[in-house]
Symmetry: C2
Subunit: 222 residues, 2 copies
């Protein structure tokens, strides 16, 4: 009995691992297939064919393609949060803080290429549920960056609303930079240097204005 | 003979007018159908059905869907250029220049809603030819804005490259604003006021930094 239940448990565990692997394979296949198409034109059949399972097996993992899209949003924003954490914990020499921040971004765009491409594209994509989820996550992401910014002395007298305004400006510039890096042609890799320089200057320019800004609404606690 | 050739000319003219009308109707139908889908998922059949012509009649106007996409890029950027011209010729009270600029943008997002939506979405869309055309037009658009900026005294000592860097930052913020306005839910129109205020502050912040910037490369003619 003991042996038999052990075997049963082991094979249930193996099934669970296998299920998890197929789940990941479906997410990965979908991301890969979006090289030359948008999520809205991606079909369930294409995704299952890529993974090598029958179409009906899809429903063991997702209710429909929209649910798969939402799982991709979660996974992609996990990558973005990891990037913010890196920026927080890596030592930043004061002098090169802008350059270093943009380099962290560039590094993540390369190592998490498919996630960045997914967010950049589907943020304006045709599937409303996915688009709304990305917008929601982006608002959270802007808030998280605002929380990081507010620790700097220059922002101490700013209203929360205005810090968010700056964070949103930076996140937009960041996404435009990510998109430009994603689009660097393989035969002209040096184009990335120019993109990084521009992004660094934009970040420097925005933060140059910070000490000169007057928030019209009083800061919290004032 | 005279009458007959006059009639022939007239009916050739009428055919030309009719052809032009169908051309415009195809462009318009495509823009409308993109309410809930991306250009890459739009089919030639859907577009011709919307216009009420047989699918093969499409080829009298466009070689393929990509060519129609490129025509939409041209038409949409005409709207954007018209907006820049408005900003140039409308009298701008110094005090409200940021507010006024953002209001011109908001007005154009409403009157040219379908054009803005097309550019905002297909800029990152799945059809490479269309995406590349939008990127090209956007670079031109950034240059045109840079040419407008360089007339202001604050930019007189800036390198061309750095003025373009600021123009690109403004255009990105502008597009993010356009996208946010496009997404205002019909039941909460007051959300637009908040978007406009944030955009105005972002523009003010960026231009606040301008007098404090030092271009590292010398300006033209220096």
């Amino acid at each position: 009995v003991n042996n038999r239940s052990r075997n049963a448990a082991r094979s249930a565990g193996a099934r669970q691992v296998h299920k998890q692997q197929t789940y990941q394979a479906l997410l990965h296949a979908a991301l890969h297939l979006m090289e030359d198409q948008s999520f809205s034109s991606l079909s369930l059949r294409e995704v299952t064919r890529e993974v090598g399972i029958v179409p009906t097996a899809f429903y063991r993992h997702f209710r429909d393609m929209e649910q798969l899209g939402l799982a991709l949003v979660d996974e992609s924003f996990d990558s973005l949060r990891e990037m913010l954490r890196s920026a927080r914990i890596e030592p930043m020499p004061d002098k090169h803080v802008y350059r270093h921040s943009v380099e962290i971004l560039a590094r993540y765009v390369h190592t998490r290429r498919l996630h960045f491409r997914f967010i950049v594209r589907e943020r304006y994509g045709g599937i409303s549920v996915v688009r709304q989820a990305i917008r929601r996550e982006l608002r959270l992401f802007v808030s998280e960056l605002a929380t990081d910014l507010i620790r700097f002395p220059d922002f101490s007298r700013w209203s929360t609303e205005d810090v968010r305004m700056v964070a949103a400006l930076i996140v937009n510039a960041m996404f435009a930079t990510a998109e430009a890096i994603l689009d660097v042609p393989a035969e002209r890799p040096e184009a990335e240097t120019e993109i990084i320089q521009t992004a660094e200057k934009q970040l420097r320019l925005v933060l140059l204005a910070v000490p000169h800004w007057r928030s019209s609404t009083p800061p919290i606690g004032a």
